[in-house]
Symmetry: C2
Subunit: 124 residues, 2 copies
């Protein structure tokens, strides 16, 4: 029954910036993509459809910095760079999968909610 030492709703709490990193569209998609298997940069770019090189690079650096993703460079010609989840990253992917699961399970209900909303507020 011990209270958590953290409170993400507090702006100063260190967990806030961690949440900021993972509560991000591209970060979550990258984690889900890497959950399946280790991927090279180009493969990751293909798997996470719609992500730009810039955002993919930026997202990967952030995840790497927090120890969620491991970057492995093989000095072939041309160079091969492989990205994979660290054990810490895999523990997070469990939680992210719960979000995905929810999205899949309630997609239809969200569609209905949207239709209902449209009816109630017919365009602003």
């Amino acid at each position: 029954m011990t209270a958590d030492p953290y409170d993400v709703l507090d702006e100063q709490c260190p967990t806030r910036e961690v949440l900021s990193r993972i509560a991000d569209k591209w970060a979550m998609l990258v984690i889900l993509a890497l959950e399946e298997k280790t991927l090279r940069f180009s493969a990751l770019r293909t798997r996470v459809r719609g992500v730009t090189q810039k955002m993919l690079t930026q997202t990967l650096r952030g995840l790497e910095k927090d120890g969620l993703v491991a970057r492995k460079v093989t000095p072939t010609v041309p160079v091969t760079v492989e990205y994979s989840l660290t054990p810490l990253g895999r523990s997070l992917s469990q939680a992210v999968s719960v979000i995905r699961r929810w999205t899949y399970d309630y997609m239809d209900e969200i569609k209905r909610a949207r239709a209902r909303f449209q009816k109630t507020k017919p365009v602003a």
Copy 2:
């Protein structure tokens, strides 16, 4: 063993835009704040430290549109606006809480990972 009809990694999949809405820093914080109890706009603004009026309004409209948050206006003077999670929103808050739980549980490990990263790559 039936495969999911959805794939969030597919840019065209409708679940992608749902994830985009909830895989958002402010959206998650608002959901966590409302998980505790119904809150008025100003109280919500205080509880979710650091959010601007503009982003809070915008976030709430988005969540309301997808049926996750209910908006109740009481025409007092001055007007009272209460926000609460819908049943759908509460089902999502379960999943979001898992993310928060993970953040709290692994905060220390992330700190260590960051320190390790700093050592490996001493400033870009």
